[in-house]
Amino acid sequence: MTATSDREQMAYVSAQAADARVNVELDTGDMTLNIGPQHPATHGTLRIACQLDGEQVVVAEPIMGYMHRGYEKLCEVRTYPQCTTLINRIDWLGSFANEVPFILAAERLMEVEAPPRAQWIRTILFELSRIANVALFLGDMGVQIGALTPVFFAFRDRERVLNQIEEVTGGRFHPNFDRIGGLKDDIPKGWIEETRSVMVKMRTFCDEMEDLLVGNEIFQARCRGVGVIPPEVALGYGLSGANLRASGVDWDLRRDANPGLSWDQVDWRVWTHPDGDSFSRYWVRLQETREATRIVDQLLDGIPSGPIMAKVPRIIKVPAGEAYISTENPLGEMGYYIVSKGDLGPFRVKIRTPSFNNISIVPWVMRGVYVPDVITILGSLYFILGDIDR
């Protein structure tokens, strides 16, 4: 399937490029344009080497490794509780959500289950990370097309969510709060009410973004029909999260493969969009942020009482075995494949990050697009550099 569509797309691109050359006597081929490593659209240090033919991209090759920190190797020489410190720093905008699949995988190997209260609070913090993370995207997408206001709104309102996370965990970006068997602490007094009012504000923020961007004529012109990814291509590349759902694939790990958190206790829905273009990726994320605030509202109503920590030994030794657990993180499917040999630390950890797969489609999707569209497509794919480079 993909092989044919690759060829078809190549033929289409070369035909278009040939058309563009008809009236121009100049040879415009073989120009190389470097986007990044320090371009604002790259959210960090990612370089995209584009070979241009006139205004169109022929080959776009992402070049990374500027931030490679070797976490898979470092995890091998640490104990399980120490690994979460590193893992926090993979997707630095949705940090609490990073810890959860790793802890769940370790818990599965140990055959420990966190008490219900811990699971609910975990789910709440997970969704708060999602809101804080995606809120920044919702504003940042405006910057990619030259609208500066939304990003200031996003930074302003995201701070409210970060404050709530900080109140519980003590850290804005690197909470390091999840423990094997439960959580480090309980939620503070009065936190539930505060969070509820923050969720109301975040819904207002989503409405503002909708008014500012979604209905905006320029935004629509720049994003509609740009960077279309068909569902079968998206699956082959392993795209996940909102990028996959924007291509019309109705798949959400929270609903379909819940690894033991409380999403099945509340009433919510998965949003998809049939178009697969930059606009639909923005739209899906906007709806998901709204949905997340509703999930948090419902979860806040029903936090069960009880302990927040299961009985676990003081020195954590994980029995031998292998486990792969992935969750629906703000950016997509994040999973940890842990190989344990019964030691204090993991024998091997394979970190499957969403952005790595999401960006690997760049060479495919960039073929034949115009240079300004490179920026909007990159922005709409939404990646965090730490999540690509690990």
Partner: protein, 233 residues
């Protein structure tokens, strides 16, 4: 290595995965070496390395269209590469001490060689994942699955630089993360982590054993706190 296809640890039967295990074992036929099932968790298949690409195609044909990840495992037993601070590595273990136990097991589905390929696929129709493994031979070469799952392109590049495994048929096996002039394969177990050798790891204190005379007392305290918490709130 024994065939551990039937696992009777959990009372609840996992029909979905068992059916999948039977169906795929049949489709794989001769190329399957070993399989393993953990009910309600995952299914593992170990296939012959020559049939790595075919196995990917069979899996894709059986509905596993979603490409999760591709990587490798180095089963090399190298305590010296793991705990530079342990007594064993520091050379403090005397010859007449008890020999250090070396665990040479190779995970679910088994493994006979040092390097093993690892691939995770997901079926959206069945909502179930599977893990595919294959032992890498001495020539350290595997067929590329890039044509089956285009997403494998970068994963293979990463595996190539991190483990030194070559992929037959992959057009651009340039380094993805590492600088071009980098020597060695960092995720191999015998690749030393230099930072640890320069400076001892301070985190080792974290896992210090509790002195014997305090152990009972601490245990009682923890239990008391736990019970108080469980009864209250």
């Amino acid at each position: 290595m024994t065939d551990e296809t039937t696992t009777e640890e959990t009372p609840l039967a996992d029909d979905k995965r068992e059916r999948l295990l039977n169906d795929l074992s049949e489709s794989f036929g001769e190329i399957l070496v070993e399989s393993h099932l953990r009910p309600h968790e995952d299914v593992w298949f170990r296939v012959k390395i020559e049939a790595w690409q075919d196995a990917a195609m069979v899996a894709k044909g059986a509905g596993f269209e979603y490409f999760g990840f591709l990587s490798a495992i180095d089963w090399h037993i190298a305590p010296e590469g793991r705990y530079e601070d342990t007594e064993f590595d520091a050379g403090l273990v005397e010859e007449d001490d008890e020999p250090v136990e070396i665990d040479s097991s190779t995970g679910y589905g088994g493994g006979d060689t040092r390097f093993q390929m690892l691939m995770q696929l997901y079926s959206l129709n069945e909502q179930v994942g599977m893990i595919l493994k294959a032992d890498v031979g001495d020539d350290m070469t595997v067929d590329t699955v890039r044509d089956v799952f285009p997403g494998a392109d970068w994963h293979e590049r990463e595996t190539h630089e991190m483990f030194g495994i070559s992929f037959r048929g992959h057009p651009t096996l340039q380094p993805l993360y590492l600088p071009t002039e980098f020597e060695g394969h960092p995720l191999r177990k015998d690749f030393p982590l230099l930072a640890r050798q320069v400076k001892p790891w301070p985190g080792v204190v974290d896992i210090e054993e509790i002195p014997e005379h305090l152990e009972a007392q601490l245990e009682a305290e923890v239990m008391a706190a736990f019970e108080a918490n469980e009864g209250g709130s």
